[in-house]
């Protein structure tokens, strides 16, 4: 299925997905998917568990390749550059398309070192530049005020919500163009969740955000565009308000009205 909603002229497709299919061995996990992900907007992927939305998300930054037996067919282009193909380095892809995971996974290092990690392995060595970018990333993640006095403390001492924001800051420090988020708030309490949603709102001003969520209300609150996945297929993709009020497909309507989870 192709995109139902036509992007407004000022909304350009940042990530263009065509015919993307993910196989685990012989079994098809998800696809074929065709989708235009609009730049500097939030796109949500919803659907019941096991429908393939996380698998699809992970194929956008080539993280699926880590699973043995996984095969990807199809095409994904970032601003016109293909990210799959002979001669394309997945490491370079991941520097431009970042990811935040469902359960926060800070390194057992200090807060500052966590954020600086991506910079160091990317070859940035200047201490002042690192410090500046760490501060900027933590500010963008709305965490700077809370941790600016304890940057050298262990990241594991932060609360769950703070750790997740730290992971967001860590991903932002690398200055990706696209941020993929796999159920970023599902392990958090409602207040921390609200913080994360507010953050996503603000980030979408300048970053392209693709978020997987099992919480429809969250998609409705946060996303400009929503894609509904079911049983490994992209069923419908449209602007959020259209999808939730006038869905085209009966399966979408059933899911949204809660007829199945």
């Amino acid at each position: 299925m192709t995109a139902n909603g036509v992007p407004k002229p000022e909304e350009q497709a940042k990530l263009v997905v065509r015919n993307l299919t993910v196989f685990y061995g012989e079994k098809k996990a998800v696809g074929p998917v065709a989708m235009d992900i609009v730049g500097q907007h939030v796109t949500a992927l919803i659907g019941p568990s096991g429908c393939g939305k996380s698998t699809f998300l992970r194929s956008l930054n080539r993280m699926n390749e880590l699973i043995p037996g996984c095969r990807i067919e199809g095409d994904v282009r970032l601003d016109g550059d293909p990210i799959y193909g002979q001669g394309i380095d997945p490491v370079a892809v991941r520097r431009r398309i970042g990811m935040v995971f469902q359960r926060s996974n800070p390194f057992p290092k200090s807060i500052a070192e966590n954020v600086a990690y991506g910079l160091r392995i990317g070859g940035v060595n200047d201490a002042r530049e690192i410090a500046m970018r760490v501060e900027r990333a933590l500010t963008q993640a709305a965490l700077w005020e809370e941790v600016k006095d304890r940057l050298n403390d262990s990241a594991l001492g932060l609360s769950g919500g703070q750790q997740q924001r730290l992971c967001i800051a860590r991903a932002l420090a690398v200055e990706p163009e696209v941020l993929l988020m796999d159920e970023p708030a599902s392990a958090l309490d409602p207040i921390a969740t609200a913080h994360i949603e507010e953050l996503i709102n603000e980030l979408s001003e300048h970053y392209t955000v693709v978020i997987v969520t099992h919480n429809m209300q969250q998609a409705a609150r946060v996303a400009d565009y929503t894609a509904f996945f079911y049983l490994g297929e992209l069923v419908e993709f449209d602007r959020t308000d259209v999808l939730f009020t006038k869905p085209n497909d009966s399966r979408t309507e059933d899911y949204i009205t809660g007829r199945f989870g």
């Binding site: 520097r95 995971f101 996974n105 800070p106 392995i121 860590r170 690398v174």
Partner: protein
């Protein structure tokens, strides 16, 4: 429950059931008790043996133990003085062994766990080799040291560098250390792999998602996290190295040397070898007994301390990993 075909319901005989139940209860009581007592007795015997050995050695060795004992040379045919040269020799050998063996063992474990595919024949071959290396008798390692290091490598070095003079083609510190390094390789590999396995997958994923290469992930995230486990493996290897005798019997250990080892080709003394020789070939058993017991005590204290240090490091590592969710 449906009735029998004839239509008659079998009425349970409550009295017989009660009698059976009472007998079973008695039997169970006895059975439970017997099993607990038997297994408890086994445990007690094992611990008692351990205690007896420790007490005997402590009791007989402690009187002779002193700072002088550890820092003096043996005198008067091993009936007086101390075991300083043996301690020095052992330390030298263990240091060489660690330098040679630990990097190779850690590299093997990293390759096995992080890089190799579990189904590839090379991986399976390495694992079989490691498992069998762990089971090779220590005397066979001694033969290996003799046949390979001394007769082959050593003799070869002599021919090329020393014009046939016998320098390395005979028992030497370096050959004993290398033999021990091969012997303790499985210990290091197993401990390192255990530590690598305990590093959560999420940390690797986080690093890769930030655009790190696999090597960077391994070096900057996985190995630092696994460092305590590597330390455990090293400590255990050192403990084995200090205690094993058979591998060094023909590859470098000597009973009495006039001076401390100065070259890789020197022979060396070692407390473990010392115990063996003093026990079996001492001309005057009663006179050397105090020195013998004290040496055994030193050896025991050393290996126990090392093993306990390894246990503590491993326990702290496990506790630390329980912290992140």
């Amino acid at each position: 429950m449906s009735a029998t075909g004839a239509g008659a319901v079998v009425r349970p005989d409550r009295e017989a059931q009660a009698r059976l139940a009472a007998r079973r209860t008695r039997r169970n009581f006895v059975g439970d008790g017997a099993m607990a007592i038997a297994s408890g007795a086994a445990l007690l015997i094992v611990l008692a043996v351990l205690a007896i050995i420790l007490v005997d050695i402590l009791h007989n060795g402690l009187p002779r133990l002193s700072w002088a004992f550890l820092t003096q040379e043996p005198r008067e045919g091993m009936t007086a003085g101390g075991i300083f040269p043996a301690i020095v020799g052992m330390v030298q050998m263990v240091i060489l062994m660690t330098l040679a063996g630990v990097p190779v063992g850690v590299a093997t474990a990293i390759y096995l766990h992080e890089y190799s595919s579990p189904v590839s024949p090379v991986t399976r071959a390495i694992r079989i080799a490691v498992a069998n290396l762990a089971g090779v008798p220590s005397i066979v390692f001694g033969l290996f040291g003799l046949g390979f290091f001394i007769q082959f490598l050593g003799a070869g070095i002599d021919k090329v560098f020393f014009h046939g003079q016998k320098v390395y083609g005979q028992p030497a510190l370096i050959w004993a250390a290398l033999t021990m390094a091969v012997l303790t390789l499985p210990v290091v590999i197993v401990a390192t792999e255990e530590a690598l396995r305990a590093v959560p997958r999420e940390l690797r994923e986080a690093s890769l998602a930030l655009g790190a290469t696999k090597w960077q992930t391994v070096m900057h995230v996985v190995v630092p996290q696994a460092a305590p486990g590597i330390l455990t493996g090293t400590i255990l290897a050192v403990s084995r190295g200090a205690g094993e005798v058979a591998p060094i019997l023909f590859t470098g250990a000597a009973y009495f040397l006039p001076q401390l080892p100065t070259h890789l080709s020197s022979q060396f003394m070692s407390p473990s070898y010392h115990v063996y020789v003093l026990s079996t070939q001492s001309p005057d058993v009663d006179a050397t007994k105090p020195i013998l017991y004290a040496t055994v005590l030193v050896l025991l204290v050393l290996t126990f301390t090392l093993n306990m240090a390894a246990v503590v490091v491993r326990a702290r590592m496990r506790r630390r990993q329980g912290v992140p969710a």
